[in-house]
Each structure stands twice: as structure tokens, then as C-alpha cells.
């Protein structure tokens, strides 16, 4: 037998305080403040206590490992080869030792992902892409550089001009150690002035070409010029990134 009580709803206690609504709105406001100022707070904390400790804070200073294929290509350091081809005078295959014997460039710069997370003060070490290009000799018809990955999925591109920026490197060391597999080791690209998706992992090939070939992420809607400051240009008609 089923009966609905006529006095179903309890009366609000006469001295009742809507604690539920207050705490709910308080937490929501906290979330909104965090969205608006979390970036500044994180940068401040990172500067104040150092990125080492900052990495222990939830949310702060940590890499998220993205892959396109869902697997990590494992390439041994001995077997690693980097093929430089296309519009070059001397197509060359580099071993890891070859790269390490070239003039070394190192600096400490942040890794900024386009989705928002950022890891400050990452130590990078490798060969300037421009040094590598000088070594193989770029033919006059080349206007852009295309990059291939050992994951057989990711591709990237830079204009020849961008490729000659001093903070665009073929990196074999990161965070003070050889680049790990999850970070794209043994050798990855690092394009400091652009969002992380431009820094292709598991670098397998560099091709000099006569036109920009939009890479994997660009074909999926990301700007070809992934400048961190959102600068738009002829190759970057997408004003969505600001």
C-alpha cells in the first residue's frame, strides 16, 4: 500500500542557515578565481619556491604526455638515425653520436602547451637546427622544413626563416638528462617561441621542401604558426589563439 504524506516537505528550521548554498557558491567562486588568477598564482609560487617544488603542487609545472597513436615509439639510442633530405646539397643520416659531436646549444626555457599547462625552467640541450641545416647545405629552392616522427603519425613544419631562430633546436637532452621516451627521446624538436605541438617528438626525418606542409596538428585545426604570443601572419589566418 502506498501513501504520500500530506506533510511531506520538512519545514525549514526556523533558525536555519543556508550553509549548502553558501558553501556551494563559495567553492564555485573559488573555481572561478582559480581560472582567472591560477596562472599568476602558479607563476608566483614557481618563482618563489623554485620549479622543483612547484612540480609537486597539484596542477603546477608538470608535463602531460600526449601522443597521437596511443603508444610510445621505443628507439634505442644506438639504433637512432636522423635523416636529413629533400632540397639539400648533401642528404645525410645522423646518428645520435653525430649530433652530440656537433656544437652544443643549451638553455633553460618553458614548455607551454596550447591547452594551457606550462612547465617553466626546463633545461634543453641539443644542436641548433640552423647548424644542422648549414651542415647539409640548403638548396636555393627550399622555403620550408618538414619534420617526421618515429610514431609515423606526427608531422610538423617551419618556414626556413623560423628554422633559423637561435632557440629552435634538435634536442637530445632535456631536464638535465637524455630525452626520455615519453618526452620524445632519444631526439626531439624543441621550438621555444611556439606552442608545444610544434616541438615534434621522436624526430626521424627533416626534409627541406619548396612549400609549407601543414603538420598533423595543423591539419586538425591548430595554427601553422604556433607563436606563443598568438601573432597571426599570412600562414596563420586563425585568430582564435590570442
Amino acid at each position: 500500500m502506498s501513501v504520500e504524506s500530506p506533510r511531506g516537505a520538512p519545514k525549514e528550521p526556523p533558525n536555519g542557515v543556508n550553509v549548502g548554498r553558501r558553501v556551494f557558491l563559495g567553492l564555485a567562486a573559488l573555481g572561478a578565481l582559480g581560472v582567472a588568477f591560477g596562472n599568476s598564482v602558479q607563476n608566483f609560487l614557481g618563482d618563489a619556491i623554485g620549479s622543483g617544488l612547484g612540480g609537486l603542487l597539484p596542477g603546477g609545472d608538470r608535463f602531460r604526455i600526449y601522443t597521437i597513436t596511443g603508444t610510445l615509439p621505443k628507439i634505442s639510442r644506438d639504433k637512432y638515425r636522423l635523416q636529413v633530405s629533400g632540397l639539400v646539397d648533401h642528404p645525410t643520416t645522423f646518428t645520435l653520436a653525430d649530433l652530440q659531436s656537433m656544437p652544443k646549444t643549451s638553455f633553460t626555457k618553458a614548455f607551454q602547451c596550447v591547452t594551457g599547462w606550462r612547465v617553466p625552467d626546463v633545461h634543453w640541450e641539443g644542436v641548433k637546427l640552423s647548424d644542422l641545416l648549414d651542415r647539409v647545405g640548403v638548396k636555393s629552392g627550399a622555403v620550408a622544413v618538414s619534420f617526421d616522427s618515429y610514431d609515423n603519425a606526427d608531422t610538423e613544419s617551419l618556414t626556413l626563416e623560423q628554422a633559423h631562430l637561435p632557440d629552435v633546436i634538435v634536442a637530445y637532452s632535456m631536464l638535465g638528462a637524455p630525452v626520455t621516451t615519453e618526452h620524445g627521446g632519444p631526439v626531439r624538436l624543441y621550438v621555444a617561441p611556439m606552442f608545444g605541438y610544434k616541438s615534434l617528438k621522436w624526430l626521424s626525418g627533416i626534409r627541406l621542401v619548396d612549400a609549407i606542409e601543414p603538420g598533423f596538428w595543423e591539419q586538425n585545426g591548430y595554427p601553422v604558426n604556433g607563436w606563443l604570443d598568438g601573432t597571426t601572419g599570412p600562414n596563420n589566418p586563425d585568430p582564435g589563439l590570442t
Partner: protein, 213 residues
């Protein structure tokens, strides 16, 4: 909803109706799915062990988008009466309850259907659903937001995720150590003696209905 003819001698009381139990378990399933998929997304080195990453991302995204549904669906409509009533209980606190929370359970309290700790848990879960949904959507459709806002959304999403893990683990520990209370989220009922011990004020109010001999 069954009710006894003689409430004074009823042996058990309905604590959660079918709608509330359904909402709880649908919500729990989504939380479990989100927390389970969050681990490999957050600790990148773990992904690919169980499922491919894009599958994990898809599960996380769709579970997240579905997250508000159990509560919303159980609140609206003619079936949401008990749910709405409990939301009101959780919202309004007496001075006694506030004092109890402030003294961490050391002051006297005639307990409502939920004690203040349980109420706080519910409020936190409700608020974190909103916060996680909004920040999660910002991360998914990041193009519409400036880079500092994306970073802020990541920060908040991660921070709340940490808090949620602690709260959910606490919730499960409390449930497992209070088996008679736990039973009511499975079959709906608590014994009269349970209600006398744990929810005397509620028993006083609820006595005429939702009780069974």
C-alpha cells in the same frame, strides 16, 4: 513507497527511494569512470597500459559531459520529490549543526537525516561537479579562452581533482565502516533503531510516512 499502518511500531524506515539510489549509483559510476581515466591522463607514463590513450580521453570526456545528468534528472519531475526534499535538508543547517561542524562533532546534536559531515560531502560533490564540468569544458574547447585562462582552468581542474580523490576515498571508507548505513544506498531502508541512533530528528519528522513494519 510502502508505509505501515502503525508508525509507532515500525521496524524500518525508507532512507533513499529508487530515484535517489539510481542517481547515486549513476553518479558514482561516472565519478569512478572519470577518476579511473584521470590517472593515466595525469600521470602520463601510465597511459597505454590498460587502454589506448584516445579511448581513455573519449571515456573521460563523455563521462564528464554526462556528469550533471543523474542529479538533474533525479531532481526535476514528479519523481524527484524525495531528492528535492533532501537537497533542502542539506542546504539548511541549524545553529546546532553549524556548532557541531565547528567543534568537529564534539557538541550535542540531534541528527537530521544526514549529519553535518555527510551534508558537507554532498555540497562538495555538487560544487565540484559544476567546477570540473566548466573547467573541463574550457580545456576541451580551449580555443575560446586566452592562454592564461587555459592555464588557470588546468590549475583548478587539477586542484579539485586532488580534493575529489580525498573526499571520495573518505566517503568510501566511511561507507565501508558503517555497514548498516551503507545498506540503505543498496536497498533503501534503515532499521528503526538505526534511525534512533543516527538520525533522531529525521525519524521524528519522517515517522508517518516511508516507514514499514
Amino acid at each position: 513507497m510502502s508505509i505501515t499502518q502503525s508508525p509507532a511500531t515500525s521496524l524500518r524506515v525508507l532512507r533513499f527511494d529508487r530515484v535517489q539510489r539510481g542517481a547515486h549509483w549513476a553518479n558514482a559510476l561516472l565519478f569512478f569512470s572519470l577518476m579511473f581515466t584521470a590517472i593515466p591522463l595525469y600521470f602520463g607514463s601510465l597511459f597505454g597500459i590498460v587502454l589506448p590513450r584516445h579511448l581513455i580521453e573519449m571515456i573521460h570526456l563523455w563521462s564528464g559531459l554526462a556528469l550533471p545528468l543523474p542529479i538533474i534528472v533525479s531532481l526535476i519531475g514528479p519523481w524527484g520529490k524525495a531528492m528535492r526534499r533532501d537537497v533542502r535538508r542539506i542546504n539548511y543547517w541549524t545553529g546546532e549543526e553549524i556548532r557541531w561542524m565547528r567543534t568537529l562533532g564534539r557538541s550535542r546534536l540531534e541528527v537530521d537525516k544526514f549529519n553535518p559531515g555527510q551534508k558537507l560531502n554532498a555540497i562538495f560533490v555538487g560544487a565540484s561537479i559544476l567546477v570540473m564540468l566548466v573547467t573541463g569544458a574550457m580545456l576541451q574547447w580551449f580555443r575560446f579562452f586566452s592562454v592564461p585562462w587555459r592555464s588557470g582552468a588546468t590549475f583548478v581542474h587539477d586542484l579539485f581533482a586532488y580534493a575529489i580523490f580525498f573526499v571520495v576515498v573518505g566517503h568510501i571508507v566511511m561507507a565501508l565502516t558503517h555497514r548498516d548505513t551503507l545498506r540503505s544506498i543498496f536497498n533503501g531502508w534503515v532499521s528503526r533503531s538505526w534511525a534512533e541512533r543516527h538520525a533522531a530528528r529525521w525519524l521524528g519528522e519522517e515517522q508517518p510516512d516511508h516507514t514499514e513494519l
